[in-house]
Amino acid sequence: MNVIKTIDELNAVKAAAAEVVATRVEGKDNGVKDVLVCGGTGCTSSGSMKIIEKLQEEIKKNGLEGKVNIIKTGCFGLCALGPIMIVYPEGTFYSKMEPDHIPEIVEQHLKNGQPVKKYLYAETVDGDVIKSLNDTAFYAKQHRVALRNCGLISPEHIEEYIARDGYQALYKVLTSMSQDDVINTVLASGLRGRGGAGFPTGKKWQLAKDLVKDADQKYVCCNADEGDPGAFMDRSVLEGDPHAVIEAMAIAGYAIGANQGYIYVRAEYPIAVERLKIAIAQAEECGLLGDNIFGTNFSFRLGLRLGAGAFVCGEETALMTSIEGNRGEPRPRPPFPAVKGLFGKPTVLNNVETYANICQIILNGADWFASMGTEKSKGTKVFALGGKIHNTGLVEVPMGTTLRTVIEEIGGGIPNGKKFKAAQTGGPSGGCIPPEHLDIPIDYDNLIAIGSMMGSGGLIVMDEDNCMVDIAKFFLEFTVDESCGKCTPCRIGTKRMYEMLDKITKGKATMEDLDKLEKLCYYIKDNALCGLGQTAPNPVLSTMRYFRDEYIAHVKDKKCPAGVCKDLLQIQIVPEKCKGCSLCSKKCPVGAISGEIKSPFHIDQSKCIKCGVCMSNCKFGAIVKA
């Protein structure tokens, strides 16, 4: 790569690379096919690297070199269908690929132009018509801003990012905007932090620029320590479009007057780390990071720091103490990072998805961004759909889209004909949203009003088989495990909460315990040192609010309505259905089942260990949990 110092040089690279990506981006048929294989974590886990190897082999065999490009991209979003492969210019979508499928596809489709229907994603096949991916229910309702390049370009080639207007925003900022222009644009866009709390990004930048005069050093940090269980949108952006974050950090650096940035990324994301390393190296090589970028007097460097497995490091002050080389314990605020952040210097910290919006805001204008979303929450939001839902994966929708649209239309609803029970947003800091709130437009304020929060965007769907007390206990176990141990309310308080929940799930709690638990929740909200401690009770409070009956059933009736809490389960034989075949009693590992052949059998509850073997072996559906 040559060093890019002028807009002409940038545009030259752009023009050349635009040709390369035209097949994918514009559907231009120039006789060459682009085969995009997802190289995100989900698809890599399910074997997409083997698909690429096989493709290379078959293409060679069929003499298609030069006629087919294989591009390893970031995440397409439909992780449940991986490994995923898309063929352009048509945009045909192959799902759940296996190496065995490849020879057929290469020969029939890539060589002879006939898509192999049986391997296509079923939803894209409608009789003889093969729909493009973008016309499926999963994609049609999405609006991709942060994810615009994910699954479209090769994240390991800076040219492809440049082809997609990459580094134009940085050029614009450095050559035609003042620091205040940049900040005012971000302010006017209404962009709020995508990491959870929703603090206005422009405001954050303004404070970091203005509060401390004559700072000798400032920093820009990126929070890529995506720790919420079930959230992986930041990972996907880093894997699929790392330059979008790098460019935005440089813009932030210019806006606040910082020449050094750090990306703090989870070590559990090896692919993202690798892509970031490559991207930073390429940007440095092109002079887009380093000294005198675009020939201006603005210099900016980026360092990569790896987390080491501590959820609390997602909290901004903890993240900074961790970068400083300490135990990742939060510290009290004030002083806020805009005044005293990393290494005691004024610091801006935003998360990955927030940065991923910045360049588009600069290029398309604040109004464009503000035209999307609700009154107080602008733009789009990426959600990681998971749990009991058909289309597990990443979706990006305008703020204000209802939960129902996301779950039922984009997500394809709940599998196995089960009933929706709750959606959990905001991870361990969030809450469970019951069916009656499915039609609330999703934005920061609405979610808080119903006792949850946006969080980083994890959205876990639960059905009737999930016990809400058990879910609350699960989150508390997580919090207890991940508490840094610095402040009393979180260190001891969450532990005691967990123990009370455990008591409830074992049928040993009283109604007084429920009150005590609720009071302890409010105490922790008011008293914990950091945001994570303060929000730790949310999963309990929201489930107590919407599913109180379920708590009471555990306490008063000693029953778990969802049949999850083992100590409260009884496995029973329905006499009317039992044929007396004795299979269950033979399979029972502890000899708890007895009876006479051809008459109903009986389970001795004092011996039963609730393993469920009898249930799964009964051919008549005569054994049930109660």
Binding site: G42, T44, P229, A267, L306, G309, A310, I323, R327, G386
Partner: protein, 164 residues
């Protein structure tokens, strides 16, 4: 107090030590160098026994306790060696609601060790891990670099057999 030194004797080589000392020398003046140095040290040795932490403390001119306090704060650092095959079961939300807890229990039972431990023959170590981001495949476990998804409890035996 129970001295927590690993029961497995330290078997570091001079080459490993030379590598470590070079890394420390290269980085010790970087701001916040301790974490990256620990991460690289763990890459070299596979774990962070007292012998390694002592070198880091001395070379960086900080107390051993400071190093140890940081090491024990982060889940990824280990003061005990890991097995030849490192099994991690994802207990993230998506996996948990799909039954990864049962799979974890089954593995403990089959291997006869608790989470965080290593089998006496040094072959397997078992850990629970946070979301690895493969929620589409939930429930998921990994053995070293291999990922196994959409698991049921019955798959556990088959997976272990592969490594036996």
């Amino acid at each position: 107090m129970a001295f927590k030194k690993s029961a497995v004797p330290f078997a570091g080589t001079p080459e490993q030590e030379e590598k470590l000392r070079k890394i420390i020398a290269d980085h010790k003046d970087d701001p916040g160098a301790l974490m990256p140095i620990l991460q690289q040290a763990q890459e070299i040795y596979g774990y962070l026994p007292i012998e390694v932490q002592t070198i880091i403390a001395e070379e960086m001119d900080i107390s051993l306790e400071k190093v140890y306090g940081v090491v024990t704060f982060y889940a990824q650092f280990s003061i005990n060696p890991k097995g030849k095959y490192k099994i991690s079961v994802c207990l993230g939300t998506a996996c948990y609601v799909k039954g990864s807890g049962d799979i974890y229990n089954k593995l403990q039972e089959k291997l006869g060790i608790a989470g965080g431990e290593i089998t006496p023959d040094g072959k397997f170590s078992l850990d629970a891990c946070r979301c690895i981001g493969a929620c589409g495949l939930a429930p998921v476990l990994t053995v070293n670099e291999d990922v196994y998804g959409r698991l049921t409890v019955d798959d556990v035996d088959k997976i272990l057999e592969k490594y036996n």
